[in-house]
Structures are given as structure tokens and as C-alpha cells.
Symmetry: C2
Subunit: 196 residues, 2 copies
């Protein structure tokens, strides 16, 4: 069975791929808007794995809408959620038997509710799978420690390819560099450098 996994090059989506690989032919899908070249970081990480890598082109209008939402809200949650749902819809249109992402049990954003999952499955006649949604934070940390080489740092300094990088770039253009620190409170993100 062919499965398309939304892939950022971060530890969660890399671990998700490893959990699924015995059961599906996994393709790593890095969704991007064409705003920046950050997707290349995910491709570089993907090359250290055995998985096929593909870019998934998102609609620029959704990026602009999400950036506007983040400016209005003053925090990124709803904007990132909007982009993630769009990315899942796009992935579901690509003809895979199943689509998946790296959302964890303890994630606050993005989240995919039971109703959203069912709706995606019914509309596209596809399975939606969240292989990490039964794992808490410490369980994921344990698996990562045993399986991946990970670089950890503040979001601003590491090179990953989630939607945030492109939304930040759009917001620097529209709201200025100074606004970014307020809109995206400090948090650690990770970038996988190698799969053991």
C-alpha cells in the first residue's frame, strides 16, 4: 500500500516514517508554498533515510490567508492549523492509499480531530493515519534518542522545512522583522541529521 507522509525533516515526521515502513510504501511529502527554499532542508534529511522524497505544492493563497490570520490573532496556532489541513487535503489528492502526518498525542498544533480525520477519509476514499498520536512526549523523546540523531535549537536558528519558515518569511515582508518574535514565542524545534 502506498502512503504519503507529510514530512518536515523534524524528528516527529521522521519517526512516523520509521513506524510505518514495515506496513506501507512510504513517500515523504514536503509541503511548501514556493516562498522560500526551506523545503531543501527536508530533502537533505530525507536523503539520509531510505524513503522516496517528493515536494507537495501548496496554494499561495492559503499561505497569505494563514499569515493574515497569525497577524490578527497575535499567535501562530490557527494559521499553522489552517496550513496543515490544506496540506492534508493536497496530499489526499495525490492518489495514495493512505496519507499520514507526525502529529503526537500531546501536540497542541497542528491537531486533527476524529471528525476531521473521518471527513478526509470519506471525501477522498483514503486512510488518514497519525502513527504518533498514541505516543506521549516522553515516549517520542525515548524513541528519538534510540533511533535518530537530532539537532535541537530555537526555531529561528535551525534549518527545517515546516510551514512556519515560509509563514515567517511572509510575515517579515508584511509586518517587519521585529514582529516575528512577538508572533512566534520561543520554542524548540528539531531537525534530524541522520537516521541510525
Amino acid at each position: 500500500m502506498e502512503l504519503g507522509l507529510l514530512y518536515s525533516g523534524g524528528k516527529d515526521s521522521t519517526l512516523a516514517a520509521l513506524l510505518l515502513k514495515e506496513f506501507y510504501d512510504v513517500t515523504l511529502l514536503t509541503a511548501h508554498f514556493g516562498v522560500t527554499d526551506d523545503w531543501k532542508h527536508a530533502r537533505a534529511t530525507a536523503e539520509s533515510t531510505e524513503f522516496t522524497f517528493e515536494r507537495l505544492q501548496l496554494e499561495t493563497g492559503v499561505a497569505e490567508e494563514a499569515a493574515e490570520q497569525i497577524r490578527e490573532d497575535g499567535f501562530p496556532r490557527n494559521g499553522i492549523q489552517m496550513v496543515h489541513q490544506h496540506a492534508l487535503e493536497r496530499a489526499a489528492e495525490e492518489g495514495y492509499d493512505a496519507v499520514a502526518d507526525g502529529t503526537r498525542r500531546d501536540d497542541r498544533v497542528p491537531t486533527v480531530s476524529h471528525a476531521q480525520a473521518q471527513s478526509l477519509e470519506d471525501r477522498h476514499d483514503i486512510d488518514y493515519i497519525a502513527p504518533l498520536s498514541g505516543f506521549g512526549r516522553t515516549a517520542v523523546d525515548c524513541l528519538v534518542e534510540n533511533t535518530l540523531d537530532v539537532t535541537v535549537g530555537p526555531s529561528e536558528e535551525i534549518t527545517r522545512a515546516d510551514y512556519e519558515a515560509e509563514l515567517r518569511a511572509l510575515l517579515v515582508d508584511s509586518a517587519g522583522e521585529a514582529a516575528i518574535g512577538d508572533l512566534f514565542p520561543d520554542h524548540e524545534q528539531t531537525h534530524v541529521t541522520d537516521v541510525r
Copy 2:
């Protein structure tokens, strides 16, 4: 890392074991009250896998309380939920790094809420993992079809080792054979005969 997985010999808990085996040393734990010998069905299935099998003794008082709850309610949901939570508590006391079960995204019972998972983890300093909770019914069915040989039939006729068999036996004693059909509406259960 050592993981204890609540195991009935059914397709869900068998699939859960296969999903976890690359990451944990999995022990199959069949919880039982000592009311019937149904746990031997799970042991027989476990022998067709590569996993270690252990019995997990539950407290008889909990079985009696659950059977009483089912009689009062007129349906099994709350009683089975009560036993499952007790089984998770018992498994968490056994010294594993993590405990797991085969609950799926679309299961109505038993369920383990985010709050219950967090509480179990905090009180026992353990990870709780539900590897199938990110998989819907059709995804599980696909994986089972590709991975396991499964016998499907009405609950009354197949030989599995979930808590239901022992609760039924208790209820036959206390409420009579005729009550069982009313208390446990027909539903299909599965019993794994072999792992491919």
C-alpha cells in the same frame, strides 16, 4: 526498552505488537481474573508470534463490580471500561518502561482519554502507548489483511481471551444464560490464528 502490551489474542492487540516490535522489547500480557481458562486462547495465539507471553492477574473484586455494573446498565460498555483501566493499572505496576494496549481511533470501548493516559504515566513514571490510536477502522482492516490470519465470528462462538469472556461467565452465574444475549448485543470479534 521493556514494554508490556495488554493482549487478548485478537487482531488489534496482535497488530499493536507488530507495530511496536522494532522499538521495544514487547511482552504480551493477558489479563485475567481466574474465572475461566480463556486466557489460554491468547497464549496459544502468542505462541505463533515471536513475543514473550505473561499472564497478568487481576483482582476478582473488580470483575464482580464490573459484572454488577453491566447488569445495572443493561449494556457492557462501562463494565468493560472499568476492567480495562484496572488492567492498565496492574500492568503499570509490573516494572516495564512502557505499557500499551490495542485501542483504535474508532473504538467506543475501551477508551483511554488524554487525561487518563497522562495520569497513568505520572503516577507510575511510565509511558502509556496506544499504537493503533492513530489508525481508523479501514486502515486497521487493511493491515490485518496484509499481516495476520484472522478468524472472525460472533463473540459467543469464537475463542479469544478478552475480559468479556470472564464477565459473561460471571453474569451467567448471577443473571442466567438468557440474560447474556440482552447484555452483550451481537458484535463480531476476531481471534488471530497466525502471524504471517
